[in-house]
Assembly symmetry: C2
DNA sequence: TTAGAAATTGAAATACATTTTCAAAAACTA
DNA sequence: TAGTTTTTGAAAATGTATTTCAATTTCTAA
């Protein structure tokens, strides 16, 4: 987990006139350690496991900052709550979500990347984030029906 | 609003061993009349306006059926609740969502349509629905900053 | 056509993710 | 390092969505 990332985050927080707290740093660290998809509950439990006293409220309060700073992104809602993913060092990609077994496959694809860039150019959109979700039945679940 | 659509819906409901009620029909009719993006509150208020006694609970209960039947699709969550759109007679398309003014532009695109079909073929996925959301700043909102 | 079984309804209660409140604690700034 | 401002945890509040339940409706099959 790169130190410069935490420095950047500190800079980002200070630039906004906010205070750099151990809680904010710890939450970002934990999320980076997961590195992949996560939800608030998972981060809360991981922190608790390592004896951290950080509250859920703080996690909820930190997430919008991390999104704004480009560290994470909300990717989908499932079972009534939001799921996020780390966007640092990630190429644009899409999610195949099997509606039956709930498996999420993350797939990077040059064509998708290219298309996204085209759209940005053509429409003069200042692109911040995007996601392509494809819901369906994976091969396994098609067989089982 | 095509009558055959309602007949299909009736068939769909009966096939599932469920009962075809005036409430279910009225909800579908109202949604088809809106024809575009909507949320539960909007449908509830429209029904109320025309003196219908249909409860929100019934709307919430009908929506999963309409999704399963392919009449509507959930497209995004905003301001804490789900937004849907009618999928009947619609080509696949993507949404440009301006994070500042909240405007949603719906854009059909051949390249996107083609890409989606490629994915389905390549990955042996039985595709049910999908959506591409692009969050950013529209031209207007870029200027205003 | 109608009796009876099964599903559906509205209203209220409930569940649950997320946000807000508030007083105490911590971070910062001059 | 004193004073201002922000942040924190805990609890309360909010708001969407789901469930419960008794009354009603749909529908089947006799």
């Amino acid at each position: 987990m790169s130190d410069s990332l935490l420095k950047d985050f500190k800079k980002f927080i200070k630039n906004k006139g906010l205070k750099y707290t151990p809680e904010r740093e710890e939450i970002l660290k934990e999320i980076l350690e997961v590195g992949d998809h996560f939800d608030v509950e998972a981060i809360y439990l991981r922190l608790k496991e390592r004896k951290s006293k950080i509250s859920k409220a703080s996690i909820y309060r930190t997430i919008p900052l991390l999104i704004e700073g480009g560290y994470i992104q909300e990717v989908y809602k499932q079972e009534g709550h939001s799921h996020y993913e780390v966007t640092i060092n990630k190429q644009p990609h899409l999610h195949f979500i099997c509606v039956k077994c709930k498996k999420v496959e993350e797939v990077g694809d040059e064509r998708f990347l290219h298309l996204i860039k085209e759209y940005e150019k053509e429409r003069n959109y200042k692109l911040l984030s995007y996601h392509l979700e494809i819901f369906g039945l994976c091969l396994n679940c098609q067989r089982e029906i």
